[in-house]
Amino acid sequence: MPLSRRAFLGALAAAMPAAVLIRHAHAAAVDDIAASPRTLQALGEAVLPSELGRAGTLAAVSAFQRWIAGYREHVELVHGYGTSALGTTGPTPATKWAAQLDALDRTARADGARSFAALPLERRREIVRRELTALKADRIGAVGRAPHVALALLSHWYDTPDATNRCYQVKIDKENCRPLATSARRPLPLAQVRT
């Protein structure tokens, strides 16, 4: 049987210097989320809009997983304007988020369910609401600074061109390469948006 996430991290902590430990902890968290994606997918169904459908939700969750996997610590951030101070990316959020996914499953088991994914949608939302309220979360901010994995997933998807297109129900495709000439006309309606 594979080592649990916590047991694995504990073993690493005893054996390795901090920088190496953090790198391994990040990789372990990424692997762990990838190896058992059901909880994250179930979270996606609870927090993302239902109009995405199953395929859209799975795609949004996969994109978020790729974001987590691509995160790098202590990398120089884009320079601030009007200051000589430099900034770097912070510690990986992956370990915290992996632990929060574990916690969602634990809560579900305490409810008598097999896992978070086995709970009805409304019950999942109740749990997430309770978690976010406890963390005093009040905005959809930057993904990397999200205090909870549910909020990080929301932030990640709502920042996409797809989310903006769906909100406005037209094809804006923000931040994508688009012909200059068409910018003067009203964006075209989306062909199929389920509202």
Binding site: G70, Y81, A85, A137, I140, T164, S183, A184
Partner: protein
């Protein structure tokens, strides 16, 4: 192989210090108008090539990572507001937004016209051909505004950036408030230009254009280097300029080629002419570092004015909610511009400002909590977002004049040194007392204008902002002010140091004032004008 493997003395006809946009313009013109050897010395590293910029942009978009890795020198944290830590081949204009308004004719004559500030030793008309040349070299897409507000002798080299659907609606709105606006001129291609692609409005101009549709100086360097018209030495920090034994001419630039942290190989650059093109901070800094027994206060500094008269401007900004449907994201960095307020009305308190309008997502993003404070999830978030975006928000901003003062200065900081033991600069921006006295009036008048605009469109000002972070003045200039009188200025109207006939300073540091608009196009026009004098 290192450029210095064989020798540590480099000789040339013209040695340009810095490789930013001003340097690129000087080198471009000199390469066309003189035969001699041109050498460029740049403290920072090479910028990543165009082919890598899509991937770098992705990392920036996803994680906020700097798309220009390592474009800084370590240990350069300093006191006071620095525009940017970026130091690399191409300078700050690798990050820039490419917004390129000209200054207005009034900017050059504020003393004669309005009784404030100092007149420049040159006029707008004298600079007009160099503005044109800079616009053609960079590729500026612009719309001719009303001639009285926006005079120019020749048309823009490219048709304007089209007004987006949103800007079209916002222009109609501002017209109702009696304001004439037009498309902001930008150094971005509205058609393929100079071998570079047409803009595809993917909206990350600052900090990085992935397709080269925005002009950046690396394009000029690539072209001039490919033709062997310049030799550029990256990673090479000039520490000091040295005088000839028997005269006040500059003999050499003493530099260090940076290798491993803290170490470096000394290099000497000898030239007939030296051009300091190191931007508004590093130009005066280098002159001050070059103090010697014959120039105890630093080079070019007999008047004591090196580092003085740092200048910039401030802005007032507001977000106005309007009863119109906008679709933010069509080309968000592009804006409308007006120069209607650049001429201070006679008989009133002095106030000049520009005006810009953008689409905005302010207060129109998705949110977690509704007006009742309840937490939303799933369909609720999208439903709420759709409901709130039935109406749009405009961002309006006015940059207004700050009159420069001698006490607004760059000095050497004895407490902070770089890896080679040279003191770092310390920056302190200060308003002239007359300017400080006008501030309340300026802010009030601009806020009243925003309110009038909101009312004209049946809208509401939902947020006001003032940029005054730590005494910062935006689009900074100064430190080596130009003038006819050597007692009150550092360089003459050509950028030549009053004290040293073979030393020129170009661009931002030479500006007498900072207008109420981004200054880079003006810096480059001044740089080209200096280059015309050097080649004469």
């Amino acid at each position: 192989m290192s450029a210095f493997a064989k020798r540590t003395v480099i000789e040339s006809d013209v040695c340009i210090i810095g490789s930013g946009i001003s340097a690129a313009m000087v080198a471009d013109r000199l390469s066309r108008t003189m035969k001699g050897r041109i050498v460029v010395v740049e403290a920072g590293d090479e910028a990543p090539p165009l082919g890598q910029r899509y991937a770098l942009r992705e990392r920036f978009m996803e994680y906020g990572e700097n798309p220009w890795p390592n474009d800084h020198l370590d240990g350069y944290e300093m006191e006071g507001p620095l525009q940017s830590r970026s130091m690399q081949v191409g300078g700050l204009a690798m990050h820039w937004g490419g917004v390129t308004p000209r200054f207005s004719p009034e900017d050059f004559r504020t003393r004669s016209m309005f009784g404030v500030g100092t007149d420049w030793p040159i006029s707008y008309d004298e600079l007009d051909p160099f503005y044109q040349e800079a616009e053609e070299l960079m590729g500026v897409a612009g719309e001719q505004g009303p001639a009285a507000m926006d005079p120019r002798a020749k048309p823009f080299p490219m048709a304007p950036m089209p007004l987006t659907y949103n800007l079209g609606l916002l222009k109609e709105w501002t017209a109702k408030a009696g304001i004439t606006m037009w498309s902001q001129p930008v150094a971005k291609n509205s058609r393929p230009y100079s071998g570079r692609a047409e803009c595809c409005r993917n909206d990350t101009c600052s900090p990085i254009c992935p397709i080269g549709a925005k002009y950046s100086p690396d394009f000029t360097w690539s072209r001039l280097r490919a033709r062997n018209r310049v030799t550029l030495y990256p990673r090479t920090l000039v520490r000091k300029l040295v005088l000839h034994d028997g005269s006040m001419r500059i003999a050499s630039a003493q530099a260090v080629q940076r290798n491993v942290k803290g170490a470096g190989t000394p290099v000497e650059f000898r030239a007939k002419t030296f051009v300091v093109a190191a931007g508004y901070v590093w130009s005066s800094h280098l002159l001050l570092l070059s103090a010697s027994s014959r120039a105890p206060a630093g080079l070019g500094n007999r008047s004591g004015n090196v580092g003085k008269y740092l200048a910039g401007h401030r802005n007032q900004q507001a977000f106005i909610s309007l009863p119109i449907k906008l679709f933010p994201g069509i080309n968000g960095q592009h804006s409308l511009l007006s120069k209607q307020f650049m001429r201070s009305p006679v008989g009133t308190e002095y106030l000049r400002h520009d005006l810009r309008v953008w689409e905005s997502t302010f207060d129109r993003g998705p949110r977690l909590k509704g007006d009742d404070g309840a937490l939303m999830l799933g369909d609720e978030v999208m439903r709420d977002w759709r409901e709130r975006t039935r109406t749009g928000v405009a961002r309006v901003r006015a940059y207004y004049d700050v009159i420069p003062d001698r006490s607004s200065e760059l000095t050497l900081d004895p407490a902070r040194k770089n890896a080679w033991g040279d003191p770092l600069p310390r920056l302190a921006f200060r308003d002239a007392p007359a300017s400080a006295a006008l501030r309340e009036h300026s802010v009030g008048a601009i806020q009243t204008l925003f309110q009038t605009m909101a009312s004209a469109g049946g809208g509401t000002v939902i947020q006001r902002e003032e940029d005054d972070a730590r005494g910062w003045q935006d689009h900074p200039v100064g430190g080596c002010r130009m003038g006819d009188d050597p007692a009150t200025s550092v360089v003459d109207k050509w950028g030549r140091a009053h004290d040293h006939e073979n030393l020129f300073v170009v661009g931002a540091p030479t500006c007498v004032s900072a207008s109420c608009a981004n200054g880079t196009l003006t810096f480059t026009a001044l740089a080209l004008r200096t280059a015309s004098e050097i080649a004469r």
